[in-house]
């Protein structure tokens, strides 16, 4: 065996640097953008609390709050957790868990007639 000193050459796949890797991130949010997102999140939180106290909206309170929290949830996941810019694999792993949880637990609660009691 020749070339004994070399480390075993293990041919790898062509490494396509995904946007999240390497030093230069072209679609990586800047610090200012992160602060803007945080501001939006803070604003939505304030809106949630405000809506909570508005008596006129009591009937539609639950749907409004759910929508607000979904927006916050999604924004944190997509931007802060960088899922928007990262490999689809991460999205699939997370969405599978999230989707499965939503599906099975909605089904369980349905069998308990939680929505109609």
């Amino acid at each position: 065996m020749t070339d004994a000193a070399a480390t075993t050459h293990e041919p790898g796949p062509v490494v396509k640097p995904s946007p999240a890797e390497g030093g230069t991130h072209h679609d990586h949010p800047s610090e200012l953008e992160y602060v803007k997102i945080a501001a939006i999140l803070a604003f939505i939180t304030a809106a949630e609390v405000t809506v909570y106290y508005v008596k006129a909206l009591k009937g539609v309170l639950a749907p409004i709050l759910i929508v607000f929290s979904l927006i916050k949830f999604t924004m944190v996941v997509l931007w802060f957790m960088h899922l928007r810019f990262d490999s689809r694999l991460f999205r699939r792993l997370f969405v599978t868990g999230l989707g499965l949880a939503t599906f099975v637990f909605t089904a369980v609660l349905t069998t308990f007639h939680v929505w109609t009691r």
Binding site: M1, A4, T8, E10, P13, L89, T96, L100, T111, F112
Partner: protein, 681 residues
């Protein structure tokens, strides 16, 4: 495992020299030998062997428990076991067979084979892998310690509330804490194997070129990933009810016992697919080899495995048909249960098609694989009848159900695992198990199994309930119960035959890399494989890569052996030895060691492997301490255990994956070659 003995004794790492009394506190290195080497190993192959060996011992214990049950039930009004003893034995029999036998056997086999089958050197997280084994071991021992500490778990393997909530004594507490410990092992193992398969495949090993065993194990690991958290919550809630008097399952406070059942079966149904998919994967590996035909419908097999995994999340309430869910819920789950029979049935047909017009060798692995197909089909058919709600209302909680799940779990999973044992034994040990004795084992097991569990169908339909410790005479159940009991001893004889086979074969001739003329990558490396698996990572150009390297097709589509390996576009250094040739090698479980520096023309490549570590074991040891402290409410003990585990985790995190002593030494040896300090633990 035999260790590399470098040609120059002075190359021994200082930590391993006998004159250092604190050598056990130093980090083990690649040179560490013996028991300490096994305790600290991070080699997926050794870990896999430990999983399988330990699981087999639990199999014998669980089988012994089964014999006790069958003795008690062999005749009516029997007094061999008291009721409360019976409850412990039947709970532990089920818990053992599921969590301490089938799951670790499948995990161990996956651990050993998956990296090699995808062309990798180890799993993604070797130390985490080791931790998974030690956590499994302490979890099993912890649960069994209950026999000596007031009584074993006695609420059934399914632990229904409110019985398990209100059961006095600590029996249930051992069950709850034991399963939590085991759950940690399963979850970490799942993350590990998932990352391994996704990320560590050799170049050219696309997902659709992977062996089916890898695919089925991958689906099972995903099921574990998502199912274990659900039972974790269920167990926590039960635990808090018992320890801290919370109200999760307190009917007086307004709770609903069905909450437990939903949470348990949300885990429990994916669990049964976790138990069967790897065994299906084994069958899909074995049948092509012994019929000399590729698996029929590879893609369909992959997709049905995935479909089973997905759909398995939509059927759990079929375990609850008689609990008053209401017609809508029950119909929905009945429909989904019928649907899931489709991908399962597809697999059966594909296996049959694989064997059709094949050139069959009736070896022991083949017999067990065919046994799987037949027995699992029977179990699957009874399963389909359970999916019909009115029929199930009659069948549920009778022995008919017990028949079903033993046919799929024993006739299915265990037969598949025995097939795998015989098939991969030469790869693990370098020697074949005796085929004649193997056939005796198979036939005894097949006959004994059907004698034991066949009658359960009849008994169930005759109305014999499950989970009873005795029954009165004169119900017409006596004869079949006796037949079943006799059958259970035939099974015991078959297991003894297997053990005898292992003993008898311990000195059989060594075989080469590929004694079966097989199709997948594990048969391209020595038997047993060296620590680093592959001298060079292979380049994959097709499914059944090894087969295509060995054979091409003539104009009639028949396999024709290729010329010598040099003509092949494979990596230089890949060993392709004519099968059957004895490979000069080590003892039963020895590594194929390199002969670096001993004047050989070919010497060991410069391969770094991660170093051993004792932190995984340390982390595991803290867990039962926490649990004992909590069960007996001696909080100091629980806190000490917690500190032990946490500090071990910290020490592990701060420890580099490769010990400084394992960094290879450079410099020529007497023959002028680079000295190789190839760590092998």
């Amino acid at each position: 495992m035999a260790i590399v003995t470098p040609s120059r004794p002075e190359a021994l790492a200082p930590a391993d020299r006998l004159d250092t009394p604190t050598r056990f506190l130093r980090r083990p290195t690649g040179y560490t030998k013996g028991l300490w080497g096994w305790l600290t190993t991070v080699d997926h192959k050794k870990i896999g062997l430990m999983y399988m060996g330990t699981a087999f011992i639990f199999f014998m214990i669980g089988g012994f428990e089964a014999l006790l049950l069958r003795i008690q039930l062999g005749s009516p009004d029997n007094t061999f076991l008291r009721a409360d003893t019976y409850n412990q034995v039947f709970t532990m029999h089920g818990t053992t067979m599921i969590f301490l036998v089938i799951m670790p056997l499948s995990a161990g086999l996956a651990n050993y084979l998956l990296p090699i089958m995808i062309g990798a050197r180890d799993v993604a997280f070797p130390r985490l892998n080791a931790a998974g084994y030690w956590i499994f071991l302490v979890g099993g021992l912890f649960m069994y310690s209950s026999f000596l500490l007031g009584g074993a778990p006695n609420g059934g393997w399914f632990g229904y509330v409110p019985l398990s909530r209100n059961m006095p004594g600590h029996n249930i507490d051992y069950w709850v804490f034991g399963l939590q410990i085991l759950g940690i092992a399963s979850l970490t193992g799942a993350v590990n194997l998932i990352v391994t398969v996704i990320n560590m495949r050799a170049p050219g090993m696309s997902l659709m070129r992977m062996p089916i065993f890898v695919w089925m194990s991958l689906v099972a690991q995903f099921l574990l990933l998502f199912a274990i958290p659900v039972i974790t919550v269920a167990l926590f809630l039960l635990n808090f009810d018992r320890l801290f008097s919370t109200n999760f399952f307190n009917v007086a406070a307004g709770s609903d016992p069905l909450l437990w059942q939903h949470l348990f079966w949300l885990f429990g149904h994916p669990e049964v697919y976790i138990l069967i998919l790897p065994a299906m994967g084994i069958v899909s590996e074995v049948l092509p080899v012994f019929t000399r035909k590729p698996l029929f419908g590879y893609q369909v097999m992959v997709f049905s495995g995935i479909a089973i995994g997905f759909m398995g999340w939509g059927v759990w309430a079929h375990h609850m048909f008689a609990t008053g869910l209401g017609p809508v819920a029950v119909s929905a789950f009945s429909a989904s249960t019928m649907f899931i029979a489709v991908p399962t049935g597809v697999k059966i047909f594909n296996w049959i098609a694989t064997m059709w017009k094949g050139k069959i060798t009736f070896s022991t692995p083949f017999l067990f694989a065919v046994g799987f197909v037949a027995m699992f089909t029977i179990g699957g058919l009874s399963g389909v009848t359970h999916g019909v709600v009115p029929a199930d209302t009659q069948q549920t909680d009778t022995y008919y159900i017990v028949a079903h799940f033993h046919y799929v779990l024993f006739g299915g999973s265990m037969f598949g695992l025995f097939s795998g044992a015989y098939y991969w034994w030469p790869k693990f040990t370098g020697r074949l198990l005796n085929d004649r004795i193997g056939k005796v084992h198979f036939w005894l097991m097949l006959i004994g199994f059907n004698m034991t569990f066949g009658p359960f169908h009849i008994l169930g339909l005759q109305g014999m309930p499950r989970r009873i410790y005795t029954y009165p005479a004169g119900r017409g159940w006596d004869v079949w119960n006796m037949v079943s009991t006799i059958g259970s001893f035939v099974i015991a004889a078959s297991v003894l035959t297997f053990i005898y086979n292992i003993y008898k074969s311990r000195n059989s001739p060594l075989v080469g890399d590929d004694p079966w003329d097989a199709r997948t990558l594990e048969w391209t490396v020595p038997s047993p494989p060296p620590e680093y698996n592959f001298k060079e990572i292979p380049l994959i150009t097709s499914r059944d890569e090894l087969w295509h390297r060995k054979y091409t097709e003539d104009e009639h589509g028949r396999a024709v052996r290729r010329e010598l390996p040099e003509a092949q576009p494979v990596m230089a250094g890949t060993e392709v030895e004519p099968s059957g040739e004895a490979h000069e090698g080590p003892d039963l479980l020895g590594a194929d060691v390199g002969h670096g520096g001993e004047g050989a023309e070919e010497h060991e490549p410069h391969i770094h492997m991660p170093s051993p570590s004792y932190w995984p074991l340390m982390v595991a040891l803290g867990l039962p301490i926490i649990c004992y402290g909590m069960i007996y409410k001696v909080w100091a003990v629980a806190i000490i255990g917690g500190i032990w585990t946490m500090s071990s985790i910290y020490a592990w995190a701060l420890e580099p994956a490769t010990a400084p002593e394992d960094t290879p030494v450079h410099g020529p040896d007497t023959a002028g070659h680079d000295v190789e300090a190839v760590p092998a633990s």
